[in-house]
Symmetry: none
Subunit: 210 residues, 4 copies
């Protein structure tokens, strides 16, 4: 049986109507982030999260139908930051400036909580969590940014995916190595991103001509 029939929900159990409940939910999600950051995947369990949040395990299950729902909520919280960054980026004048802004944002976030981003990347790719997080929308938005930066790019959504992957790869590796020099990492990341775009632009143009 690879497919469980009684599909667990990933949505929070209730739309918290009272602000108290909202606070509780937020504190649980933040606790999840802290546990993940400080204890790693190994120490990421519901009891630890509840303890860190200062609520009972029962309360945690009042708001989240299961561990995965909590994970999804955390992923979405972190994803939202990218959304926000993206929104800011889209206010920038030039496309290049927008991209540079995003690179800076990614680096800053990563170096703040090095483990968190990486572990969420891992969780994100768990089969069964796939599709529960709004990655596609994010990439679409990112594709828009790219289209502005390189208007004639033939496949902006592919480029968006690649640049995501490149950024994630470099930034996670930096976190793992314990890099702290933001300037330097940002510099290299710019090289990777704009280097990729410059090459892809030309080549793809050529390959399309075929």
């Amino acid at each position: 049986m690879t497919e469980r029939s009684a599909q667990k929900q990933f949505k929070p159990r209730k739309a918290p109507s009272q602000s108290r409940a909202e606070e509780t939910v937020a504190s649980i999600v933040e606790a999840a982030a802290q546990v993940l950051e400080s204890e790693g995947l190994e120490g990421f369990n519901t009891n630890a999260v509840a303890r860190r949040a200062g609520v009972s395990i029962g309360s945690l299950y009042q708001y989240f139908p299961g561990k995965d729902a909590l994970t999804v909520a955390l992923i979405q919280r972190e994803t939202k930051r990218f959304y926000d960054d993206m929104a800011v980026a889209l206010t920038k004048r030039g496309g290049k400036a927008a991209l540079e802004y995003l690179i800076g944002a990614a680096v800053r976030q990563q170096l703040q909580r090095p483990m968190l981003a990486k572990l969420l990347d891992i969780e994100e790719s768990r089969p069964g969590l796939r599709g529960e997080v709004g990655k596609p929308e994010l990439e679409n938005l990112f594709a828009t940014v790219i289209q502005r930066a390189i208007p004639k790019h033939p496949h902006p959504e592919v480029a968006a995916g690649d640049l995501f992957a490149i950024t994630r790869g470099m930034v996670d590796a930096a976190g793992e190595r314990g890099e702290t020099d933001i300037e330097n990492l940002e510099h290299r990341l710019r090289a990777a991103v704009f280097g990729y775009l410059s090459k892809i632009g030309k080549d793809q143009a050529i390959s399309d001509r075929r």
Copy 2:
């Protein structure tokens, strides 16, 4: 040292003296690869590996002192393929040809077993497994390749790390998306690698001149 001193060993427990044993060891490692590929990290447990290998759980523990040792053995088996590829790459005439060969090799391997590579990347970075796998040596060797490709590059080892990260990022993402078009992926990866190198070369040169 805050780690526990009486660490479990990661080395295989015994050098199998009978040929039957060698087969058993190999079949266990291969079973580990298959379980990881098909069931993911969640289903990667020693009982499942033993079952898939067609041996008893006791046999598994006769050759591996613990689950982590098995993981390390699998990582090393996969790492060896890179070593071999690297060795071939170093026979290539030009540095660029060497790099291109490696890119091709990475893509081919990845698309054969998409999950495996990614999950091993994850495991590799588990605290407690760190340092048990000869990543540094691999990167040093890779730095040599880069030095040949871009002789005047100021920090080949940094570039090696970044290119590793870029490749891993793109190739894992491709696996996750279920990409199967080797040509296309290879093409984009070349763009990323050579794009990065072209930009980094110049910028760093400039920044060094300061």
Copy 3:
């Protein structure tokens, strides 16, 4: 310290805050005693204890961080009885009466649960459990009793240790043989204890005079 630093705790995991929990803890310890008594060391495993206590294995581990902690708890429960007996003994007028009271108490306890005492003696001496039980304090208190009984005894703490050993030896052997005649055993034990003291007193005095 050659012992592993990240030692399992032997202290109960949590102070049970609800009265239901207190009962559970007590029932687990009592179940441990029963299992040890009826199944011996061989059958003394956490699952059997949980089953006998009528609780799940999870509950057992909620209160005891490991099997050893449970063993220690049981040892301490039994040790406390000696403490209490000792306290009563110290209220007796004469030292000899105190000693006789203790002998009687030891015999009575032993013949109630013959195996338990013996098996706990064994566990008590397991390296790794050593020092987790307050044996020294017990012997100190006992030394006080002896000092009252034989004021001029030169090494009361040595005598205390010897009398402990003698009592334990005789009483365990009696349990093993299935003796049930309390009177008779008590009689022989008195002979051993007072016989030892009478001889030791004189000899040691002489050897000290040297």
Copy 4:
């Protein structure tokens, strides 16, 4: 099911007719002693014994039908030493001299291999091993020694049991404490033994007259 129906044998599987086999058996038993002494009950397993003996686990099972049989063999080997000591003791002129000789022998043996004696005592009392070792005969012989020392003693076999228990208790405790002063231990043991006998003799005589 407390009684296993297919009763394991405790006798060595075959009377070793060739001297090579005899040596193998002896080396296995000695290895068992060494493992028990150095690793404790926890480390006492058949594989460890075979390894220490320098034979294969298969060979061990060729000569001993099971672990318990090995344990019994070791117990009997150690018991034989007492037999021999007893035989020597019986050549002594006076009964008191015989007893003193035995006390000395017990102390010397114990302090040579402190753990061994204690752990064997423990194993000896395992239900299922009971009666497989010739304890009664040993105590009968010992009773003879006592009868010589205290001719008018009313219950020499009871006294024999008690003195065994006393000696074992004191000597094991000494081993546990790491005592090394043979003289001192022997002195206290003599006090215990002769103290017990002096008191028991009189009291029992009186109680018998009733």
